[in-house]
């Protein structure tokens, strides 16, 4: 086997050094009744050439996704990824290394964590950043558990426009803790603030609001935070489309307490849903309750700057059942991806790209409305919007036939939105593409 260097002759030498006469002598702790007596019934071994052909053939059973562009986002956005992101993340020093428990030979990862924490701190306006939780949904669930620990209360209010997968994840994570979850309905595709106020009682730990929300709507987070804070309720903002940070008010400026984000838009491929990269950010005063690895700056014995994992007393390998979370491995390589991506874009790039997404989404919506084949509510949105089609199935078919992944049929998640489709538009669509799409419906 080409991945195993030891030869049969060497094995014999080694067994001799160990002081046993055969390999099976090393298995004497294992009860005979559980020892496998036959080979596993699996295919292989297949050689590298056949393996390549086989998996290439399987991949061909997928649609030609490079060419067919998605008109759907809903928590997974196709943005253009500069090649440099791949070049760097494909360096073995990054992708074949372990968690940086030995900082002297892990400064690459640790400094990259620190730089990325800086990017996210600037974009969120927060002082503490945990650069990797598995994804936006698990980060949201961790934020909820964190808020419950901080407040010692277990009732939470959740906007009904939180990504449905995120809400389901929150339900799974909180189920053992007898958490009461109240969903706040929406009105005009934004979270209903009157209903929110009505539900504000002293026993509420936190309010979770996604902005831009699941239907693309830009929420008035500042106003929700102002009201929530009058009752000492923690505010968690979820950001599933992180590119929006390029032009929207930061959670910090809106006085949010905890941010749970999904950074997939910062240099990660769609990959059928993962791996992406969640992050958590909070005000400094909450650092002892935030879960996950954090890099901090320090010095070595000669006074040189260096970085280590810090505030480790929160973590499972030290605190066991008293840890803030069980999280150990995260999605560290995607911290590097996000760091490279944001460094390439810089302030000007991120702002221009976010602005372009905003404008091109508004352009398509207007063009589609002009065709009269669609109708829909007016509301402030970022790069996703909903429209109603009276012939939903035909619309979806037409878009698929013309080489697009269709927008999301919302009736799956919101039965009252039967006929509505959730469109996403990013910079991968040129103006010509958008004109072509609208043209399909104008006759």
């Amino acid at each position: 086997m080409r991945y195993i260097p030891t030869t049969e002759k060497q094995k014999e030498e080694m067994l001799k050094e160990i002081g046993v006469s055969s390999f099976t002598d090393l298995l004497k702790d294992i009860p005979d009744s559980v020892l496998l007596k036959t080979d596993l019934n699996i295919p292989g071994p297949i050689n590298e050439q056949k393996l390549t052909e086989r998996i290439y053939d399987i991949s061909k059973k997928n649609a030609d996704f490079f060419s067919i562009k998605p008109l759907v986002g809903a928590g997974a956005y196709r943005h253009f990824i500069p090649e440099v992101v791949k070049t760097i993340t494909a360096r073995e020093e990054f992708y074949t290394s372990y968690t940086p428990y030995q900082p002297e030979i892990s400064q690459g990862n640790l400094q990259s964590m620190f730089e990325y924490q800086t990017h996210i701190a600037k974009l969120t306006g927060m002082n503490v950043v945990v650069p990797s939780i598995y994804d936006g949904a698990s980060a949201t669930a961790e934020a909820v558990l964190m808020a419950m620990r901080l407040s010692k209360k277990n009732k939470i209010l959740v906007s009904s426009l939180l990504h449905p997968h995120y809400l389901e994840t929150v339900r799974t994570y909180t189920e053992p803790h007898k958490t009461e979850i109240i969903t706040i309905p929406y009105k005009n595709i934004l979270t209903n603030i009157e209903n929110f106020e009505k539900n504000l009682t002293d026993d509420v730990a936190a309010f979770i609001i996604q902005s831009p929300n699941f239907l693309g709507g830009i929420e008035n987070v500042s106003e929700f935070a102002r009201i929530a804070h009058q009752k000492n309720i923690l505010v968690i903002q979820v950001i599933a489309e992180s590119l929006s940070s390029g032009i929207l008010k930061s959670p910090g400026e809106a006085d949010v307490d905890i941010v749970a984000g999904e950074a997939q838009s910062f240099g990660m491929d769609l990959n059928f849903g993962g791996p992406y990269n969640g992050y958590l950010a909070s005000k400094m005063k909450y650092i002892r309750q935030i879960p996950g690895r954090i890099a901090g700056e320090t010095t070595d014995k000669n006074g040189n700057r260096g970085f280590v994992m810090t505030f480790r007393a929160r973590e499972q390998d030290i605190r066991r059942e008293k840890a803030t979370s069980n999280i150990c491995s995260n999605h560290a390589l995607n911290i590097v991806a996000g760091n490279v991506y944001l460094s390439l874009l810089g302030k000007r790039g991120l702002k221009s790209l976010a602005d372009l997404n905003f404008k091109s989404a508004h352009y398509l919506r207007k063009k589609l409305l002009d065709t009269k084949a669609f109708s829909g509510p007016d509301y402030p949105f970022f790069n996703e919007f909903i429209l109603k089609s009276d012939k939903k199935e035909e619309t979806i078919d037409l878009l698929m036939k013309n080489g697009f992944v269709p927008p999301l049929d919302l009736s799956k998640f919101y039965p009252e939105l039967e006929g509505y489709l959730l469109f996403a538009v990013t910079e991968i669509f040129t103006k010509k593409d958008l004109d072509f799409i609208a043209g399909l419906f104008s006759r």
């Binding site: 086997m1 991945y3 195993i4 030891t6 050094e17 160990i18 090393l26 702790d29 009744s33 080979d39 596993l40 292989g44 297949i46 649609a63 996704f65 253009f80 760097i88 074949t96 290394s97 372990y98 030995q102 900082p103 002297e104 690459g108 990259s112 730089e115 701190a121 936006g136 698990s138 994840t169 339900r171 799974t172 803790h177 500042s222 930061s250 769609l270 059928f272 993962g274 901090g296 320090t298 010095t299 014995k301 260096g306 480790r312 030290i318 069980n326 150990c328 491995s329 995260n330 999605h331 560290a332 460094s343 874009l345 372009l356 905003f358 352009y363 402030p380 698929m400 910079e427 040129t430």
Partner: protein, 477 residues
């Protein structure tokens, strides 16, 4: 080394913004969402970025640089072809909300990987959803929780050995269980008489890593399973150390009811500096209905998502760390049944070889033949003022990544531990040079202890002040 922010020059950019103009769109973002504060990100060109990150990467040590003998981490070679196959366009650009008929290839990989893992572990159905080992543990213990609830008899305790990874008790606590610790005995396994005492009808089960973290296969496994099952409990298998058992033992045949596997350990997918991996969860028949939703199934028309009737729900968005699954699938097919067994055999021989060669210099926690990893201790060097930490730091000067240290920790057997896992992809020559370095260090500890206490001497930075990092927290630039 400078931070990317310290290389910023006003006016530079490393990205080409698409030219389309949408000037006719006059819509603006609402007043309430307009920022009043400007954020600044670094302004650097593409070559600046490439040089910066290339330089950063050179401060890191990866498996491709040399031996990485971290115990219970299985830092084996990451095959290059698997990286390429996971990055095929049709996989990479697949949107998770694309219609099922557009993603038959992706679903096939997920389904077939599950079938392969069923055969390898003796389980009946896998969920590909969990993102990491600890995430898989949480999923598994939530399933156990739901299993008892669905019977109308919820249970509140989970037994965990003192040798277990910290994630086990942390996951159990997250799932609402009260953690009860069971001690290790003088042979390195679970203390059976203590287990008998604490196992009762309010205990949901036992989480066991086998081989455990001292590198020993629990010789009483059948008795343990019997004790847990006789009180109606379930047995959870932490798959962190499955590498030792490939083709030798199937956890499903040894009485385990639910398990997770770390695809980034046993199944060769890269660790990525701490992830992403995958912590897929396998269940025996009685527990399939509790798996996270959705799972991938197959009928005559093709592959599709199904929603188990008593599912614990989702533990994340979408379906799993797909690209990691492709790599694990490719590795299993490349190895085949003989290759898998050869991997286990070689890793066991490697660990015992290191143990045999080093036990006169570093006292083993348990002086017995081990499985795929061996646990030594650095206790005897305390009298020279040398800590286990110093030994591990000195190893860096010899060009090796240190083993896991101070874990496992339980008195009186496992103290000042050095946990060494030399996976099957390491050659005898590499092991010999590692052994030589360890022996040399043991001499240095006695004759030149200062050399160890000041180590490492040849790394980009010297020993770092971790206390200062907490006292004066600086968490961003």
């Amino acid at each position: 080394m400078k931070l990317i922010y310290e290389k910023s020059v006003k006016g530079r950019i490393g990205f080409s913004i698409p030219e389309d103009s949408f000037d006719e769109i006059s819509v603006d973002i609402p007043e309430y969402a307009k920022p009043h504060k400007e954020y600044d990100l670094p302004e650097v060109s593409e070559p600046d970025v490439v040089r910066h990150f290339t330089k950063l990467s050179k401060l890191n040590y990866g498996v491709d640089d040399g031996l990485y003998p971290l115990g219970s981490c299985t830092m084996k070679y990451n095959p290059k072809i698997n990286e390429k196959l996971a990055n095929l366009d049709n996989f990479l650009y697949a949107h998770p909300f694309a219609p099922e008929r557009y993603v038959q290839g992706s679903l096939q990989i997920m389904f077939e990987l599950g079938e392969l893992l069923n055969e390898i572990t003796g389980m009946d159905k896998f969920s590909m959803m969990p993102a990491a080992g600890a995430h898989g543990e949480l999923t598994g213990v939530l399933m156990i929780r739901k299993y008892f609830e669905s019977k109308g008899k919820p249970r509140h305790k989970m037994i965990i050995p003192d040798s277990a990874h910290g994630t086990n008790p942390a996951s159990s606590a997250m799932a609402g269980f009260r953690v009860v610790e069971v001690k290790s005995n003088e042979r390195g396994g679970v203390d059976i008489s203590e287990l008998e005492k604490i196992m009762d009808e309010d205990t949901a089960g036992l989480m066991l890593t086998n081989p455990n973290t001292v590198g020993l296969f629990d010789e009483n496994i059948l008795k343990i399973a019997d004790i847990v099952h006789s009180k109606g409990g379930l047995l959870y298998y932490d798959g962190a150390n499955l590498n030792a058992l490939l083709g030798i033992v199937r956890p499903g045949d040894a009485g385990f009811d639910v398990l997770h596997l770390n695809l980034h350990k046993t199944f060769s997918t890269p660790h990525g500096g701490g992830g992403p991996g995958a912590g897929v969860v396998g269940a025996k028949k009685e527990l399939i209905e509790f798996l996270p939703s959705p799972i991938v199934c197959k009928n005559e028309k093709g592959y599709f998502f199904e929603f188990p009737k008593n599912s614990i729900g989702r533990v994340r968005a979408f379906y799993g760390n797909f690209s990691v699954l492709v790599k694990a699938y490719a590795w299993i097919l490349s190895m085949g049944p003989q290759g898998l067994r050869e991997a286990a055999e070689t890793s066991i021989i490697n660990a015992n070889y290191v143990l045999a060669k080093l036990k006169d210099y570093y006292k083993p926690a348990y002086d017995r033949t081990c499985m795929h990893e061996c646990v030594l201790t650095g206790k005897e060097y305390k009298k020279y003022g040398v800590k286990t930490l110093d030994i591990s730091k000195r190893l860096m000067d010899y060009g090796f990544h240190p083993p896991t240290i101070y874990f496992p920790h339980f008195e009186p057997y496992a103290e000042e531990t050095i946990m060494i896992e030399p996976p099957e992809s390491e050659s005898k020559e590499t092991l010999d040079s590692f052994i030589k370095a360890m022996i040399k260090i043991s001499k240095e500890a006695r004759t030149k202890p200062e050399l160890l206490k000041e180590a490492p001497h040849s790394t980009p930075v010297g020993r770092l002040d971790e206390v200062k990092a907490v006292k004066n927290p600086k968490l961003h630039y």
